[in-house]
Subunit: 221 residues, 4 copies
């Protein structure tokens, strides 16, 4: 079974569609139950949805209470964008950005590790190339994404000796709804689509008996 | 004039004391006015204090409203620690940690840049060696410190061409009150004191006409 | 057409075998013509070999003189290992290590870029996880691999606006002949085989219209 | 006693002059005995010189044979520059660059560690900001400097538990003879002088009982 967060749009939704085509059993989560249902309606009957707010520890716990067995793979796509020069950014939007990307990831991985660190779970954490370098006009977004990277580099050390593994994914800009809601005005016509990124990621996640791809950067071009 | 945040204890208080000995004009800030006064009482009469909550944008604005001229140097020491394996960490304490280290730094630097980016201000941002590598038992603390690093690497790019400069400081473990409140049980007898770190940092911050030390890691040993 | 360096053993040989199964046209190079022929004999008839010494600029030029068209993909696997504490390492072996890994890569990429930077060539540079962190007992090997990483991060900037792209690959330890000749005594039974790494890498190299995986770390486990 | 390599020009010569003013006992080395004597003639009588070629293990051994006691501090400044787009670089000059920066540093640190790892020696390794990021037009120089960084990050791990410590220094562009011989045409009038960089570095190297500055980046501005 594969659990996908942020599944109601973008890369999460595209991955859901691709894995559904393979007849995988999927659990999709996101904040909006209606959007999740729109996404899952055309998918295979083994796909179920469960709305959750990953910033709320109680909601995270309830999400995992609905899961009966250890997932084989967890793909954490949830997150949001917010851009602009620091002096033009709004404090409330900054706090929202940190909640949506950092608090949510911490609380989600905390619950996942509490419950399943003794199981062979591949935990795929989707960040951004903004986690790898500073970028002008993206200071708080970089802060949020660097935070997630610092978190998972630490968790990899805590998970040494456990069967659970963390796979870090850094996609560059995709042509998704993300940009429309981020306040950044971009021509995304040469960007890869979410489906393109999803298909590359899906291929890269196929491991072998003794090895796996642990870190993946996906770029335009 | 030098503005120091997190001045009521640890490295911030030690720096206040050293710069006061040089008869520098200082403004000290921290959350607790009483503690700030305890720190400033023995210092030179040019030292003033102003309590502020850097997580509150209104409080940050008020702090800067009390400042009549561009500071020559700003030393941002404010921050707190919280440690333990991820599965043992408490959601409320995690949120507090992110607020104290990430939200505060973003809101503080945002206000500072809005007001003074056209002035020759040295902005010293004190992080930790936890901003440079993942550490087991420190996942959320690393997340918070990596966030600040991602922020300032981005802000350096936004400040290109402006006279304001950011200096990044990464101290290793010091023997301060920090550890007592962090939940980590450590024998800190071989750690450097805050005064030792402050004296090294103060020396390293003395620039020349055409150059300055932009990144400083301070370690035990 | 795919050009593979270091093709006479390890990952290079395994990739040659996998791509041959797909009926790809391949050119294999390595220092030893006899070993290259042993590798290529069982492969498809479109596979040709050309021995070359990548540390010799004349030999590199001659290799490219035999190639009639721009390759679609170049996979640079050539390299060697040498390990031990710094104080136990031999100066001649250190120089050999630098030649085999650094000089060779520089001269090879220099010739490739001179000739083909205006073509859509995917240049896959295989390094090691030793290019990403320091390792005790591997100081000179890390030096060599970090050198290659610094090189390609610079070349990516020089290639901005050109159709040629560099893909960075960082494999962890594989069970190959590499270890037998490196002076490091290891039980490699739980290591991934070269064929495992090759199959994961081959999948990850399949790009899409607007995107590609630019950086890949492959680990055991 | 302080041992300085690359002391016949640039930062090495400037450091020699500053430490001589403090009446420190110094040993200066470089390839050219005549230039070393020109540098040392105006310095205090405790300054001695010994020409050596750090790319030759025999010459490195002879240098250390002249030293009667463990140095307190070693400052390794030796190195050279070579720039240009990769396709315009000359193979012989590339090999020279790697020898002057990488082979020399490996052989020098190898001998130093063999002899003195059990002594409290501060080993200061001067690299460049080119060791921290890729740069267009500096690909082989970055390769050389990244190599040194990979080396010392590994050696720090090998030296754990020993009193010897490595201090990493990353200076940005200085106005020195270095540029005249590097083939890069630059207006260096706003660059810091070697004396400015030396004075900042000297201050930053003053440690305390339990701590020291382990990593220093010096920039223009």
């Amino acid at each position: 079974m594969i659990l996908i967060t942020g599944a109601s749009s973008g890369l999460g939704a595209a991955l859901a569609s691709l894995y559904s085509d393979d007849n995988e059993k999927l659990i999709l989560t996101g904040r909006n139950q209606q959007r999740l249902e729109q996404i899952s309606t055309p998918l295979n009957p083994q796909v179920t949805t469960h709305a959750s707010d990953l910033c709320d520890p109680q909601s995270v716990a309830e999400l995992f209470d609905t899961i009966e067995e250890a997932p084989d793979t967890v793909i954490h796509c949830a997150g949001s964008g917010y851009f602009g020069k620091i002096e033009d950014q709004d404090p409330a939007a900054i706090k929202q950005l940190l909640d949506n990307n950092v608090t949510s990831t911490i609380l989600f991985l905390r619950e996942l590790i509490q419950r399943y660190r003794d199981h062979k779970v591949n935990v795929v954490v989707v960040m951004s190339t903004a986690a790898q370098a500073g970028k002008a006009g993206e200071s708080t977004y970089c802060a949020a994404k660097w935070a997630v990277r610092g978190l998972i580099e630490s968790l990899r050390l805590e998970l040494k000796g456990y069967p659970m593994k963390i796979i870090a994914v850094y996609p560059g800009g995709m042509a998704t709804r993300f940009w429309k809601t981020s306040g950044k005005d971009l021509n995304t016509s040469s960007f890869m689509t979410a489906t393109e990124a999803a298909s590359m990621l899906k291929q890269a996640l196929v491991g072998t008996e003794h090895g796996y791809i642990s870190d993946i950067t996906i770029n335009r071009g």
